[in-house]
Every structure is written in structure tokens, then in C-alpha cells.
């Protein structure tokens, strides 16, 4: 089977604190002070200081996903799901580890970010498509399909600053969903537009998956995960809890989240009795 994504021991360390809040002169000054301190004292001073203000958002995450397979990344807030996606989509680089990606990877919901308000819907389709790495020719071939899907034919030559937020997000979704990136990412629940459009989105995603596109779902309800994906990657505090077929991972995950909910339910009761 052909591989779509291969991740080996991906880790990501973030630095917390004032580091980026400093002004230029404060920065130069504190760097100078730190330099003098290092000269006067032991060399390890700086390193230990960094450790206190850093945390690992992702630690030693490895998995493999084949072409045409669907992976669900599950876990609570702060598990490292978005960090993993950011690394895979080249937004930021890992601190350690390596990942190979075969094909173009595009998120279906965040593409509207590249829209320019003064540009017409038509121009924005091209601008966004080229940002995602498609050629003008490819976009032209899919243009009618994109516009049809979004349902805003009448307004395609109007600047998007005059669009309603619904129109805006429908066009954004439509661009990525119809240009057929090899790997699609569905971050959060696909809650775009009204009920009818939502249904259309789900159908489109199902169609893409059945056409053999590789897909990554993030933060979906377990019912969606069961229906749509074969594999699950369960993360907690940056580490892999479980990676395997959905029907093995989801029961465990549900068991644990149920426990957490129970605990949360008990807490206020205790507070009252006290």
C-alpha cells in the first residue's frame, strides 16, 4: 500500500513567557546581561532557565497513514492535535523528529484566511487556490464546480467584503473541497452555513473519501469518527495514548471520557455537601 503520511518521533517544544513580549532595547539589554552572566558563571545557567519556561506540546509521536485511509486525531484540549496538524502542514517545524508527506495537504475550513476583502469572489478563488499550491489551469478547470457548490453564482464578481459571513465561508470551503488536494484535513466539526449546506459538506467529504482521498479528522464527535475513519490517533498531553483501528481505540477513549465526565459530575455535588 502507498503511504500518504509517515511521522517519526515528532516532538514540539514551545517556549512560554516574556520572550516575545520584549521590546528591541529590552531584548538587547537582557541578552547582554545573560551573556555577561554566562561569562562570569557556569555555562548551564541559560539552559536551565529555558527549561522552566518551556513545555512539550508534542512528544515522540509516530504513525503511518496510507493513501485513501482516514485518520481521526482525538484527545482533549491541549493534547497536541492542532500542533501536530501545524507541523504536518508546514506552518511550523518540529523540534525533533521527521515526517514525510506525499501529496498536497489542505484544511477545508481554514482556507478562507487568504481571502482579500477588495478582491471579487472570482479573484479570491484563484488567489486561494494558488496559495494552496494549485496552478491557475487546475483552478480554471474546477472553477464552475467550485462556484456551483458554493451556491453564490450571482455574487461571484462582487468583492468579498460585501459577502455575508455565510457566503464567505461557503466559498472558502468550496475552494478546498473541489480542488481535490490529495490529503484533506477537517479540523473541528464541519459546521458550515445552514443545515442544507452542512448536509452538502458532509456528502462532499464522504464523496472525497470514497474517491480515495486521504483524510484527517480532528476533534469530531465519536459517532462521526466511527462512521468516517478507519484509524484513530489518541493524544494526551502531547503523547500518543493509542494508535490503531477505530473500533479498538474509540471504546477505550469513550470509557475514559465517560470517567472524566463522571468525576466532573461528582465535583459540584461534593462541594455542596461540604
Amino acid at each position: 500500500m502507498r503511504v500518504a503520511i509517515e511521522a517519526h518521533h515528532l516532538s514540539k517544544q514551545f517556549f512560554l513567557g516574556e520572550r516575545n513580549q520584549r521590546t528591541f532595547f529590552e531584548g538587547v539589554w537582557s541578552n547582554a546581561v545573560a551573556g555577561v552572566q554566562r561569562l562570569l558563571q557556569s555555562e548551564n545557567l541559560g539552559a536551565s532557565g529555558d527549561d522552566r519556561r518551556s513545555f512539550w506540546a508534542l512528544r515522540d509521536v509516530s504513525f503511518q497513514l496510507g493513501q485513501g485511509q482516514t485518520l481521526a486525531i482525538i484527545g482533549e484540549n491541549g493534547a497536541g492535535k492542532s500542533t501536530l496538524l501545524k507541523i504536518l502542514s508546514r506552518i511550523t517545524q518540529p523540534t525533533a523528529g521527521k515526517a514525510k508527506v506525499f501529496g498536497r495537504l489542505a484544511s477545508l475550513l481554514e482556507v478562507g484566511a487568504g481571502f482579500h476583502p477588495e478582491f471579487s469572489g472570482r479573484d479570491n478563488v484563484y488567489l486561494n487556490g494558488t496559495m494552496l499550491g494549485f496552478s491557475k489551469k487546475e483552478i480554471r478547470q474546477k472553477f464552475d464546480q467550485i462556484v456551483d457548490f458554493s451556491g453564490i453564482e450571482r455574487f461571484i464578481d462582487v468583492p468579498v467584503k460585501n459577502y455575508s459571513s455565510g457566503m464567505y465561508i461557503r466559498l472558502a470551503f468550496s475552494v478546498a473541497a473541489n480542488l481535490n488536494p490529495e490529503i484533506i484535513v477537517l479540523d473541528e466539526v464541519i459546521a458550515v452555513g445552514d443545515a442544507a449546506f452542512k448536509k452538502k459538506c458532509f456528502e462532499r467529504v464522504d464523496a472525497l473519501i470514497s474517491q480515495g482521498h486521504t483524510a484527517i479528522l480532528v476533534n469530531h464527535e465519536t459517532s462521526h469518527v466511527r462512521r468516517m475513519s478507519q484509524f484513530c490517533l489518541w493524544l494526551r498531553k502531547g503523547r500518543v495514548v493509542m494508535f490503531g483501528p477505530t473500533n479498538e481505540v474509540i471504546p477505550q477513549y469513550e470509557l475514559e471520557t465517560a470517567e472524566i465526565r463522571e468525576d466532573a459530575g461528582r465535583a459540584p455535588a461534593l462541594a455542596q455537601s461540604a
Partner: protein
């Protein structure tokens, strides 16, 4: 690159620490259409937002030139070679505006595009390239206005020579663009850590203009300050630019060689720093 064209033996890309995400020029070339669309976008946006549209692009150099005419020519009595002062100042102002807009816009790359950069990946250096492209496009109509002013003087019997050296103009503009790219990238990389730097840049660019032969020819610079002008690459480029336009000032070879050397160093270091910053800037900004 459609699905069928993907080479599954080789990954489309590899992410790992320390690796420059797109070091291949081939990768950059694949994004040429995005470059053109971004130039178009910035051009359209700049003209659409203002009530008088392109009018400002033409009026601003006029007003600035008139101010310089009064202050430097009438009051300070600075020489403007054989050129009419208005032509001298205007030619300097439009090219300095080109350079300084390039530097300051490239310097804002990470701050202005933070939202897009956090969501979609494409080679970040495309943004600085497109800013410079837009500014080149904006420079052309201003140059046209300058030629109209020259035409007005010629009609009134003033002799202004246009030599074949005019063909060297794109080369001089290219050198200025390179210097602006390098410097802008350097500042952009620094803004990831120090956001207030862009304010300083505005002041510095204003000051820098006075040492860049925009308001007077090299011959009018006092001897004890001439080293400053020699070491200033923009002074040499502005001089070359005017001599390619009019052939009245003769650019000196020595300062030009220094200027080109400085430019090459600045652009290499600047782009390298930019690429280093683009790898993790989303973690801090």
C-alpha cells in the same frame, strides 16, 4: 501537479527540524502564479480604497518636490547640477519612495500576514517578492509623470539630455530592489522577536534619505562627510539612477562597487534570516 502526476516514490515534502522548508528554486517557481496574483491584489487594493485613487500617487511627489525646492534650493542654495531643481528633486523623491516603501512593506511581512501564515503554507518569501513587484508597478506611472515634467521644461527651451544610458535604468532599479529586499527581510526576521522595530525603521528611512544624494549631488557633499556617502549604497544607486536618466551626473565606479558588494551581503544575510524566522515564527507572534 494533479494526483496522477504525484511521484509516490518521493515525498512531496519532508518536515524536520533545521531544514529550510523550501530551498529549491524549482519550488518557488511553482508559485509564480501566486506571485502575480498577490501583485495584482496589492495594486487593486491600493487604488480602490482611496477616494481619489491613483491621484495621490502623482500628487505626493509634486508636493514633496515643491517643499524641497523651497528649502534646499531657494533657502539652502544647494546645487542641483545642470538640472532644473524640480526635475532633480522629483526624480530623487520618486525613486527614494520606491526604495523606502519596499523596505518598510517587506519589514512588515510577518506582522501583516500572520493570520494567513498561520493557516496556509506557501513559501513565505513570495510575500516580499510581491511587495517589491507592486512597488515597481507603482513606480512606472510616477516615472511617466517625471517625463511629463521634463517635457514641459524642454518645450520651454530648457535642454535636458536623455542618453542611451536610460537602458541601464532597470539594472539600477533592480539593485535597489535587491537591497530593499535584503534589508526588509532582515528587519522582518527581527520583528518576530521585537515588534517595536518597525517604528524605528520608519525614522531611520527618513534620516537615511538625507544621506543618499536625493537632495543634492555628490559634489555638494562637504569633504568631511564624503566617506559617509561613499559607504552608503543608496547614495551610489541614486547617483547611477540619475546619471542613467539624464547623463548630467557621472556616477563614480568606486562607490558603486562598494554599493554592489554591500547589497549582495545584505540580501544573502537578509534572506537567510528570513528563512530561519519563517520556520517557527508562528510559535511566537
Amino acid at each position: 501537479m494533479s494526483a496522477s502526476q504525484i511521484d509516490f516514490a518521493e515525498p512531496s515534502y519532508v518536515v524536520e527540524p533545521g531544514k529550510l522548508l523550501d530551498s529549491h528554486p524549482k519550488n518557488l517557481w511553482a508559485y509564480r502564479e501566486l506571485f502575480l496574483l498577490l501583485v495584482k491584489r496589492d495594486f487593486v487594493a491600493a487604488y480602490k480604497q482611496t477616494a481619489l485613487g491613483p491621484f495621490w500617487f502623482f500628487v505626493q511627489p509634486f508636493i514633496a518636490s515643491l517643499a524641497f525646492l523651497v528649502v534646499f534650493s531657494q533657502i539652502a542654495r544647494l546645487s542641483t547640477t545642470d538640472l532644473p531643481p524640480l526635475v532633480f528633486y522629483m526624480s530623487g523623491i520618486i525613486v527614494w519612495n520606491f526604495f523606502s516603501n519596499c523596505v518598510s512593506q517587506v519589514a512588515y511581512t510577518f506582522l501583516v500576514n500572520a493570520t494567513v501564515f498561520r493557516k496556509i503554507y506557501f513559501p513565505r518569501i513570495i510575500m516580499p517578492f510581491s511587495q517589491i513587484g507592486t512597488n515597481l508597478l507603482n513606480f512606472i506611472p510616477q516615472l511617466a509623470v517625471l517625463f511629463v515634467v521634463i517635457g514641459f521644461y524642454v518645450l520651454n527651451g530648457r535642454r535636458i539630455e536623455i542618453s542611451p544610458w536610460l537602458l541601464a535604468l532597470p539594472l539600477v532599479l533592480g539593485l535597489m530592489a535587491l537591497l530593499a529586499l535584503g534589508l526588509g527581510c532582515l528587519i522582518a526576521a527581527a520583528t518576530v522577536k521585537y515588534r517595536d522595530l518597525t517604528i524605528v525603521v520608519g525614522y531611520m528611512l527618513n534620516l537615511w534619505m538625507y544621506g543618499s544624494l536625493v537632495i543634492c549631488p555628490r559634489s555638494a557633499v562637504p569633504a568631511n562627510l564624503s566617506w559617509l556617502v561613499t559607504l552608503n549604497p543608496m547614495a551610489s544607486f541614486v547617483e547611477c539612477y540619475r546619471s542613467s536618466l539624464f547623463g548630467t551626473e557621472h556616477a563614480e565606479a568606486g562607490p558603486l562597487i562598494i554599493a554592489i558588494a554591500i547589497t549582495l551581503v545584505v540580501v544573502t544575510v537578509g534572506v537567510a534570516c528570513f528563512k530561519r524566522a519563517e520556520r517557527t515564527f508562528t510559535d511566537t507572534i
